[in-house]
Amino acid sequence: MWAYSPSPPNPGTDPGFITSSRDAAALHSPPPRRRIVAAGEENPLGREGLGSKKGEADMDSFSSPSMSSSGSSPNPEVLMEQIKAQLAQAYAQEFIETVGNKCFAKCVTKPGSSLSGSESSCISRCVDRYIEATGIVSRALFSNTR
């Protein structure tokens, strides 16, 4: 579906990890809560995108036959990948929450019975601008500290 793998901005190389609003939308996953992932899970982001599509029973989607049969301590590489994936997901969720707050404040000044067309287009521009702003701020920070 999408091959993009979200991760926090890498200081030296990519100033903004989300490069389009479509990436940002694809990162959205229902219930925003931090999850502890069982060890042994392989490639949690996989091809299905972030998190569980079912939006519940998180542990189910993370159980893996190899873990239950091995019984020994989890492979460090797999564990590191899992931790990185969880961190990326947590970062993405927080980012989306921030963008939502900012753009609601800017674009929906008087909530009506539905989102007007101008509000919708404002929101879409706002998300793009916020992503761009994140890139600008990252670049400003890291070109300054060099």
């Binding site: 901005p9 961190l87 800017k106 404002c122 400003a140 920070l141 300054n144 500290t145």
Partner: protein
């Protein structure tokens, strides 16, 4: 043990990355509020871009001042 040294390094790296991305997130939020006063358009005006860049760099300057202040107790 080799594993835990590698894990240590990994954890430290990830902590660094997490601190960095938290700082970027906070800074973007603060600078957005300071610099983007009107409704977002199809692109940033040059003033807004400059403001965002300045905001980030001045924040760093300020952090240095604060750090120095607390060093010289």
């Amino acid at each position: 043990m080799e594993n835990s040294a590698e894990m240590q390094r990994f954890i430290e790296q990830e902590q660094q990355k997490a601190m960095m991305s938290e700082m970027i997130g906070k800074l973007t939020s603060v600078c957005w509020d300071k610099c983007i006063t009107g409704t977002p358009g199809n692109k940033f005006s040059s003033g807004e871009t400059t403001c965002l860049t300045n905001c980030a760099q001045r924040f760093l300057d300020m952090s240095m001042i604060i750090a120095k202040r607390f060093e010289m107790q």
